[in-house]
Symmetry: C3
Subunit: 342 residues, 3 copies
């Protein structure tokens, strides 16, 4: 998309320094941008690249604006400005409204909806205006999807689940499969518990590729507004993820856990079942959360890595930490006696 | 589904207290149930909710029955009873037998089978009676699936793999992709080893959404009867999972590992390759199993999490555990000398 | 496939001992092989099985050849030889060239390409000779795939991504979904950053089932030639994986990390974002890599597992390692004083 700096500032604000008629066609980093591109300086550590940038214009903060050799859009939050501008300038593949001839659609859809090749949409499905459903999505009976949502190819939504407006759901995501619920027979057999809740996804949620969100057992699994889920995340039944929380790739949230508002969870972290995380909790990547967290803040439970031989030498000690603590206690006692005797 | 208490007790046993003609239409928790619903009390910690429940009837143990203000089904194992009743009472989406016009089916199927839209079934496939294959499943050449199995939309089964009867396989599961087997050239290139075994899945197995089970290299990967696999599990080639074992989400089992009968593996745990776990082993969530386990019991290898600043202070010590053990040994020696000298 | 030993040696080299007209139809382990099968002895620990093998012939090293009771192919690298022979001898399901009638193809393809049932190929796609695209793959606009590549059923490649020649991509893999990039509003909302780079996959790459590789934000995500990725791997935006590196199942690589040439990463390991791993680094399974690694070698950061009661006793000490180090320092000081006083 080609836009003049004037148009960009008219839409997103900021103070323009330089020629407002300059047209840019995309975004690029300071060191890679060409004169037809817009760049940004959000992290001070890249300040040294500003003087030599070949970008047509740079989005930056007032305190950086002095050093800018080209046109500038000055704004107190350049990274946020860049995010908004990036969406507007990015090329958008066309998704013409209408239903592809190869799709199987068993519900009535608004005429503004785009349904791609080989999609299956079951009966009693309600889809909002301007929704895009790309190739080979599978939408079960009774599903509801809000306006302006976008499903990339191969998304599965099980029967009865709800997705809000402006959702973005990537390929291979599965919403509403059965939760993992069984009762164990004395013989060891597992007897399945019917999973009759749904998944309820709010507005402005993004769900990454191959992420799975299980339906509730009796009640619902709830993903609140503004939540962002990366790829390959697993969310168990009856979980609730609070508004504007963001979970990185490969995170697992076990059944009935509750994540507060505005939390972040780093990649590969595991939250055990039936726990609560307060609002504003940040869990570091790779951390196993085995009890509830009642106060905002950052929490970590990972071990440093070492060269393998160093690791062998040090980490084998972990099996003997308790004995070691005993030894220290014994030393303290004996030393105290000697000191007394002195 | 609507059922009278009389019908439920006729089917599943238990002692009925109250009006057998009372009709219930679904299950709900004690605190949420309405008079038209059946509830259950399995965990004593919810006993306090019994007195005020509005449920039509409650499934509970004899020792709890006294406090029940509504009709009751009394049984020694209320959770198991609830599981069985939940399946019977849950609404079942209809899957009419026959092959959808948009499916591509290259084998002959029993007339009782239901094949959904845009399914592909390759040649020489054998499907048992009453199997449901939902939209967009892909069933490779020579696959066999036993009677009464249910494949949700978008399941992939590679050529030659076998699945038993009464299997439930969720969307995005991939059964029979190549194992990860390569020989390394001295130049660093990896030469692929053909993976010519199959996956053999027993009866009564459930496989979660986006779970992957690789085919064997020369022999087979085997999932025994009654195994339950949650979502996003990875099972390498030539693994064997023993009868009635249950694996939670995000577990990884590396190639040629053998899991015993009746094991449980918590979420995100990793079992390394070529290991054996005895029958009745429980591996805690997040644990890395790096050597075989020869006795039943619970095993754990995770670290506690801390506030990030506390973590930094404590966990940096892990790099120096060996030096610390040396210091303690030195202290012990010096102290013993002082004690002797006294 | 049936091949005589003579044919095998003519193709792959090695010294034949025994009847070159002997025909073998597949590979098997020493203890399971029948007289019509070829076996191999690569790991000396299986040497004891050689004397009693019923294989038709065995691939082995010169120093083992004396003990072989049947025909032999003698080669200095029997495992590599076995890998190559396994590919040649494995049965290959037929994939006739041409486009299945149920596929939706919006680009012009070479006549040698095989497109399976219900595939969607968007506009402006370029596919090389002899490529096989199995059932229900989804290939976005502008994608390029090199010659002789094989996509198993249900692979997704987003618009604009490139895949080299001789790639093998397994079911459920998603290449080119949006990276996880957001700017955070002071209100807590996340503003999406358009992801306008592509994924660029080199030649001879294998990508496992349900593995996801995100497209770059501004620049590209790059998978170099010869890389092997197991199942359920997540690769973030702007990552670069060096030539001939191999990653095991469930690995996560966060955004903008750079993995060197010839690295290996064990199952379930997590590499944090913006880090670099030197060439020839081996990361052990389950290790969290939280800082860059500048020298080749093996690195580990995992904890041993214990019986649960032993674990409780020892690992609770981790919360107090810092206090314990203080105690030791105090003991050392007091003991030194006593020693001085003596």
């Amino acid at each position: 998309m080609s836009r003049s700096l004037k148009e960009i500032v008219a839409r997103f604000g900021g103070e323009l320094k330089g020629d407002g008629n300059l047209v840019v066609t995309g975004l690029a980093t300071l060191d890679k941008a060409s004169p037809g591109q817009l760049s940004f300086l959000a992290n001070p550590k890249y300040f040294s690249q500003l003087a030599s940038t070949r970008a047509g214009a740079v989005i930056l903060a007032p305190e950086m604006a002095g050093g800018c050799p080209v046109a500038a859009i000055v704004t107190p939050q350049p990274y946020l400005y860049f995010a908004r501008a990036s969406q507007w300038l990015a090329p958008k593949p066309a998704h013409p409204s209408g239903i592809h001839a190869s799709a199987v659609v068993e519900s009535t859809l608004p005429s503004s909806v785009s349904v791609g090749p080989q999609v299956w949409i079951g009966p009693e499905v309600e889809i909002g205006a301007n929704v895009v459903i790309e190739a080979q999505c599978r939408i079960g009976a009774g599903v509801r999807i809000g306006a302006d949502s976008h499903l990339y190819p191969g998304v599965t939504i099980y029967h009865g689940c709800h997705v809000g407006s402006r959702a973005i759901i990537h390929s291979g995501a599965v919403i509403g499969a059965d939760g993992f619920g069984f009762a164990r027979e004395t013989t060891g057999e597992w007897i399945k518990i019917a999973q009759t809740g749904r998944v309820s996804v709010g507005d402005d949620v993004e769900i990454g590729a191959n992420t799975t969100i299980d339906r509730g057992a009796l009640e619902n699994t709830v993903i609140e507004d503004g939540v962002k889920l990366d790829n390959q995340i697993q969310i168990g039944h009856n979980v609730r993820i609070g508004r504007n929380s963001a979970l990185a790739g490969c995170v697992g949230i076990a059944g009935s856990a509750t994540i507060g508002i505005g939390c972040t969870v780093g990649g590969g972290a595991i939250i055990l079942g039936h726990l609560s995380l307060a609002d504003g909790v940040n869990v570091s990547a790779g951390t196993l959360v085995a009890k509830s967290i009642t106060a905002a803040g950052s929490y970590t439970g990972t071990v440093p890595f070492l060269r393998h031989d160093e690791w062998l030498k040090n980490f084998s000690r972990l099996r003997h930490l308790d004995a070691q603590a005993d030894k220290i206690r014994d030393l303290e006692k004996r030393l105290a006696e000697l000191e007394k005797a002195k």
